[in-house]
Amino acid sequence: MRFLRSLTLALVLSGGCAEAVLGPTPAPDHGSLFDELWREFDLHYSFFELKRVNWDSLGAHYRPLAIASANDAAFASVLGRMLAELKDGHVSITPVGVSAVRLMSRTDTTSAYYSSSLVFSKYVPVSQYSPARHLRYGMLSGGAGYICIPDFLGNDWAGELDLAIQQLAKATSIVIDVRSNSGGTYALAAQLAGRFADRERIFGYVRRRSGPGHGDFTDFTAETVAPVSAQRFRVRVYVLSNRRSFSTAENFILAMRVLPTVTIVGDTSAGVSGAPIVRELSNGWTYQLSEWIEYTPDHRPFEGIGLSPGVYVRATATDMLRGTDAILERAVALAAAKAP
């Protein structure tokens, strides 16, 4: 037992040599933290070349400002300003105890003139939620069904769409509304779109950062949509999009628009496509950044551009004042024209 006690003591004492092996804990001063953040973006951020961002130059400009920051709030503000130069809706930094500092882009501030209240008061007066309230649906006039997906948060709820469409069995066509959808779980886009797929189809490609060079990427990896259950919905589908359809909502639009029974109606989507990863600084602040580039099936990136609809309809302030949803009305008219 004396032997075991000696070993235990050795184990405890040798904990002190951990720093010799691992190196010292990174310094929490503003200069070191700035360098940490700058380097992590340098290693992982995907859009430097596509957006023609000179990251070295931005680092040289903002580093002295960061070092001169009088306190953490000022320091966070400098970091936020530097990251805003990337014009990427997936980039943000979250200082401890303070709400996230995030880019305010044109798509953040421009009104999409969309109101779900207007939709459900005027066009779908009788509606219900799916069991976990991820979807809200009902019938439109003219025999089309309407399903609103406000976001793609959470996991494994694609089956709720099956239930909603079963409830809308009498519908001659379906309108799926992802306007002002803030995105969420990537996998849900293909899972939901798969309910309408006739066969496996490529709907896009991605390339992920793979090394320290700003042009180091993996090869193109195909994104596919495939039938996900024996039950396939063969009705005509109209997907509504606008300038505030973000991220996973854009993946959904991308997946739906390759299907032959689907038409995208509305405005161009936000163009926020980067699949963010989260990281942390050594003072505990977390931040997120885009790590891939997503492409349309013809290998065109749409970051900062958005996905154009098949039928372009732009909602206006005048529409809102009149209590009219021009995009939805156009989809209803298209559905009526195609109705048997």
């Binding site: 032997f3 075991l4 070993l7 235990t8 050795a10 184990l11 040798s14 904990g15 040599c17 951990a18 720093e19 092996v21 691992l22 190196g23 804990t25 990174p26 929490p28 940490e36 290693l43 992982h44 979250t94 401890v96 996230a100 990537y186 996998a187 991605v206 992920r208 950062r209 793979s210 090394g211 320290p212 993996t218 990896t221 699949a275 990863i277 989260v278 990281r279 942390e280 600084l281 050594s282 003072n283 505990g284 977390t286 790590e291 891939w292």
Partner: protein, 266 residues
């Protein structure tokens, strides 16, 4: 290319060492054949910094389990062990509340030869070559608003020389072993494993990029008995230099039982 050649040369050297050690078992010295099975469990302490996950140092404890098999024939000693453990690590910086959950598995195989010419379960020094493989999954929990968890993997397979020294103390036996990797293969996450289309970078490495050592100190209370309690201290230290470096130190203390088969040492 030079790095690949060096790694290949090292691998060939190690394989030759193993072959030589095995060939010796058929020599006139080879008479007694004995083997032992052991199982031990205990506590392990991990300290690590994996820049793929975080710039911070993390440390913590968890359980450790090791199954071992050793076979001694003449002057040749063959070892095979399989182990694993779970550990929960916390940041060394009190201001940061993020945590890591490690799941570690390891495989060790070695062939050694007594260098002092004595056969059987005798005191003395043995040297040989070892193959070690270790896979560590790290689930890193960030303390952001959405409490996200990112997963990373580090797989390391190495070849290198190993030395074992054994000495009878009273009725028991003390054994010390030390191995140093000189070449290997590393697979390390570049981005979180649970992200879509995640990427791990693979590369052949030599001692220039992967430095470390592993060792063990064990004491079996009854050297000649069929069954004996065994007390085991192990350590492994690793420094992997890449775009995203990894530094790790793992130590464990275990208590177990060893069962021996065949003729025992005199």
């Amino acid at each position: 290319m030079a790095r690949v050649n060096a790694a290949m040369s090292a691998a060939v050297l190690c394989l030759v060492s193993v072959q030589l050690a095995c060939a010796q078992s058929a020599s006139p010295y080879a008479r007694a054949v004995s083997s032992e099975l052991s199982i031990s469990a205990g506590v392990a302490q991990s300290e690590r910094r994996d820049l793929a996950a975080s710039p911070l140092n993390f440390g913590g404890r968890g359980g450790d389990l090791l199954l071992g098999y050793a076979r001694e024939r003449g002057r040749t000693l063959l070892q095979l062990s399989l182990g694993g453990g779970l550990r929960t690590l916390a940041s060394s910086t009190s201001a940061v509340a993020s945590t890591e959950r490690l799941t570690e598995t390891e495989l060790h195989a070695a062939a050694l030869r007594h260098v002092d010419g004595r056969a059987g379960n005798a005191d003395g020094l043995s040297i040989g070559a070892s193959f070690d493989a270790n896979v560590t999954f790290t689930a890193h929990s960030y303390r952001d608003a959405s409490q996200r968890v990112s997963e990373f993997v580090l797989g390391v397979a190495t070849l290198g020389p190993v030395a074992n020294w054994k000495r009878t103390i009273g009725s028991g036996a003390l054994s010390a072993q030390l191995g140093v990797p000189i070449a290997g293969f590393v697979q390390h996450s570049y981005s979180p494993l649970n992200a879509q289309y995640a990427l791990t970078n693979s590369r052949l490495v030599t001692i220039g990029a992967l430095r470390g050592s592993s060792g063990a100190l064990s004491y079996a209370s009854f050297n000649s008995a069929r069954f004996s309690p065994v007390y085991l201290y192990r350590f492994a230290v690793m420094r992997y230099d890449d775009v995203q470096q990894v530094r790790a130190l793992t130590q464990s203390l275990s208590v177990g039982m060893v069962a021996r088969f065949g003729p025992q040492a005199q």
